[in-house]
């Protein structure tokens, strides 16, 4: 089997003394869409934020164990380097309100002071927006502020901003929970194209979404990784009773 892009070994995360991610072992294969699901407070978002080291920004937040990106320890590299390789899309769309759509897409380059020629910039903007299925909607108003877009368009803009940096992994933290059903389905369709080039890790508490978009699903409960398997197997033949209870709606 090909080497996993993300691999966690005995990974733990804490808020102060509160143990929120417990001894997680997982291997995430390249160019797949992985759904991370579980009830509220199960540690799924915290685990996701550990992958690109956003977790440690919270006061008192710590973690231990191995977190490998292509075999390299994420916690051994500079967080900036890790975040360049591992992009993220948040629960609520958060385009930079002071920048145009164009500048939002290349924000990772522009704000980092990386010099690009006009042609390179144009190319990155068009490519990224096309991949995020937003280009046709915004190509005529590309220099307008990103905040004028609808919520779903803003979220796709955030996806474009993340993939403009050509990350290996794209973390998505409940990317559609603040969106209406139409925007949700357009973003879900997008995942099928995106996983050709990137590895997607999608946190969701929506089981239907997990079933629709993912190749593999990880089920978190009370901080533990209860079950991790092919999505089809997971939803038709769960091994753990807790998984079974969750997907049959016996608790949420």
């Amino acid at each position: 089997m090909e080497r996993p892009v993300i691999k966690s070994v005995n990974f733990n995360a804490f808020f102060g003394t509160n143990h929120v991610v417990k001894n997680v072992n997982i291997e995430i294969p390249k160019h797949n869409a992985i759904a991370v699901m579980g009830p509220s407070g199960c540690g799924k978002t915290t685990y996701l934020r550990c992958i690109n080291r956003l977790h440690e920004l919270t006061d008192g937040a710590t973690s231990n164990g191995e977190m490998l990106l292509n075999g390299e320890e994420v916690y051994g590299m500079h967080p900036i380097f890790a975040r360049l390789k591992i992009g993220m899309v948040f629960q609520r769309p958060n385009p930079f309100p002071n920048l145009s759509i164009y500048d939002n897409v290349i924000a990772g380059y522009k704000l980092n002071g990386l010099k690009l020629s006009k042609a390179e910039k144009d190319n990155i903007v068009e490519q990224s927006l096309t991949k995020a299925a937003l280009w046709n909607e915004v190509k005529d108003s590309i220099h307008k502020k990103g905040t004028f877009l609808s919520g779903g368009q803003q979220q796709r803009l955030c996806i474009a901003r993340a993939i403009a940096m050509e990350p290996e992994v794209l973390l998505l933290d409940e990317p559609t929970s603040a969106l209406d059903p139409i925007s949700t389905s357009s973003i879900e369709e997008l995942f099928h194209d995106l996983k050709k080039n990137y590895t997607l890790i999608v946190v969701t508490h929506n089981m239907q979404q997990a079933a629709r978009v993912s190749d593999k699903t990880a089920f978190f409960y009370m901080g533990e990784l209860v079950e991790y398997d092919d999505t089809k197997t997971m939803f038709t033949n769960p091994k753990d009773t807790r998984t079974q209870n969750y997907i049959t709606g016996r608790f949420s």
Partner: protein, 282 residues
């Protein structure tokens, strides 16, 4: 249903409404009275000579206040150069560090500094900068005013930046931006209107300060550009001339008062406009 007197209730509500509107109107009156009075007294005194000549000695008619005008501009400008960077960076620090010990003490100092009488700041600067150098100087006046600007600058920057949602900072960090770039290129630009209006308000606040300048910039009947020497300013001129027994000097004081008032009004209007113009829709 119990019998309720609707008419009585409506009347009561109406009368309270009228009282509130009346009180709100009364607040405007003192300002209007001051503006009208200063305009009435000052407008006739302002002419080209007034704006371009230095004051004449007692007994000679005419003369102007150009030394005070330029002096005020220089003193306030230098004060801004000193205070704005310190104020904005302290404001950024306080908004970023809500719980640290340093932030606690720094915030407390800012609050206390706001309440320190301006004359006290003047005395302190006198002992720090005037006595050791052996001469009154406009620079020491600027230093005193800079200290007075700080609380407004720091507070307005801090309050503005606190309003910027944390999600924007996360967005920046998740793109691999270093912390200082997230602050300077994401957080600060989003709060630029609030920071700018703090800057302008703090300038308006100190433009008319007299007490800290009495024994720092001291005043100077001649035109001076040297910030290491005594320099005149509008509030000092008003203070000196209005308390003098000469009509000519009273006239200059009225004219200067009008100019000072207009400047402060304009600065406040500009603040309102910048807030609108630079506001970032979050």
């Amino acid at each position: 249903m119990r019998n309720v007197n609707i008419k009585y209730r409506v009347a009561k509500s109406k009368s309270i409404q009228i009282i509130i509107v009346l009180l709100a109107f009364i607040v405007i009156l003192p300002l209007l009275a001051i503006i009208l009075y200063i305009f009435k007294e000052g407008a006739t005194k302002i002419n080209w000579t007034f704006l371009t000549k230095i004051p004449k000695p007692v007994g000679e008619a005419g003369g102007g206040i150009v030394n005070a005008l330029l002096g005020s501009a220089i003193i306030v400008f230098v004060a801004s150069i000193i205070a704005i960077p310190i104020g904005i960076f302290t404001g950024i620090y306080l908004s970023e560090n809500k719980t640290s010990k340093l932030a606690y003490w720094s915030r407390l100092s800012v609050d206390i500094l706001q309440g320190v009488p301006s004359i006290v700041i003047g005395i302190v600067v006198y002992f720090w900068l005037v006595k050791p150098f052996g001469t009154f100087s406009s620079l020491s006046g600027s230093a005193a005013l800079a200290i007075m600007m700080l609380p407004i600058l720091i507070r307005s920057t801090e309050e503005t930046l606190k309003m910027i949602p944390f999600s924007l900072k996360e967005a920046g960090l998740a793109l691999g931006l270093p912390y200082h770039k997230v602050i300077l290129k994401v957080i600060v630009p989003c709060g630029v209107s609030g920071i700018l209006s703090g800057v302008i308000l703090s300038i308006a606040r100190i433009a008319g300060e007299t007490a800290p300048l009495l024994f720092t910039a001291f005043g100077n009947p001649y035109l001076s550009y040297n910030i290491l020497k005594p320099m005149h300013s509008l509030p000092l001129l008003i203070f000196n001339y209005a308390t003098s027994p000469y009509d000519d000097w009273h006239n200059l004081a009225w004219g200067a008062a009008l100019i000072l008032l207009t400047t402060v009004l304009l600065l406040n209007i500009i603040t309102k406009l910048t807030t609108k113009r630079w506001n970032v829709q979050l």
